[in-house]
Symmetry: C2
Subunit: 190 residues, 2 copies
Amino acid sequence: MTAERAAYHHGDLPRAVLTAALDVIATEGPAALSLRGLARRAGVSHAAPAHHFGDRAGLLTAIATEGYGLLSATFGETRNLRDLGVRYVRFAIAHPAHFQVMFRPELLRPDDPELLAARERTRSRLRVAVAGYADDPAVGFMAAWSMAHGFASLLLSHNLDGLLDGQDPEEAFRALTGDMFRPAGDSATG
Amino acid sequence: MTAERAAYHHGDLPRAVLTAALDVIATEGPAALSLRGLARRAGVSHAAPAHHFGDRAGLLTAIATEGYGLLSATFGETRNLRDLGVRYVRFAIAHPAHFQVMFRPELLRPDDPELLAARERTRSRLRVAVAGYADDPAVGFMAAWSMAHGFASLLLSHNLDGLLDGQDPEEAFRALTGDMFRPAGDSATG
DNA sequence: TGTACATCAGTGAACGCGCGTTCACTGATGTAC
DNA sequence: TGTACATCAGTGAACGCGCGTTCACTGATGTAC
């Protein structure tokens, strides 16, 4: 996707390491990640990944930054709050490794400027959409985020496995918000 | 709390190991947990913890089971959905280590009967409370759980640090639900 | 009250493993002239 | 077009560390008689 570097000895090693990392994270979680293991997967010597990312935190910061870009792309041009929620869930399903890393600040370089900028760009999308729905923008922001994030987290961590029984997760989330998540000013009855 | 065993050589080692584990998990996360590290903290030889818990999964399953008991206790006798949400958040803050472990099934023994029973007891509390609020009980259950779980998760993982600015988290959550989380049949306007 | 024995919590040495990090190196690419 | 040199991606041996697991053991507690 964002390959900026031509192939040297082994093609695009940074991308190869990132891809291997995303695979490990998606299947075994961020805790299972080791630079040596990634080098093995990418077919290079164990010290090679450090050339590009420094350490684990550097690698994960790159993943989180990329994740915010992918989330913004998944948002598209939608300004509708409910759609944004559905797309948040869609992003978590499509990019589970990015999702798992983005919200674990203790794994990241906390002050990385690219990360902070990408995060702010994404957040502002939600802030704009929530403006028309809540009396207090900060409260509305946290409410919408909590709802979508809670559902996506529980889904990815297999806590909804017995509850969805075959239902499409995006549609289930849409039903959730339809039932209980209404614009302020709406007077919906059951 | 649930000490069932009198002191042998070193007092109540199972409890001492659990306490040490809760401390490590709360401050460094479940990934930082090692049986050798816990033995060191508890002041016993490195092989001692395995006597009581077998392995990491056994230890974490014990913590998760205890966690469901503590969550049920935090729920008290409340049948009010909004209060249950607030208490879910309260539990996450009071027992962050338990909370982090309970919803990570890949760290646990999946079929442990005590764990499954404790979990079911807790879930049924929420199921009863949600019955009056949603048209579809399963949808209402997931909606309420997503909201409370999302807020608690984001809070504990320090993703709300810049957004709450000093506000009490329980009160913030109450505001969230007041704004956007209404009983079906209620016709609240903004 | 006293002895013999079973039980079981906890010890400590030993093992093999994968990890991050260091460091001198190799070899391909890119640039100056 | 050709040579010399700088740069930098990637190598591979070596290091020390903490881990889980095994296993023969010690020593305190509890019970049978």
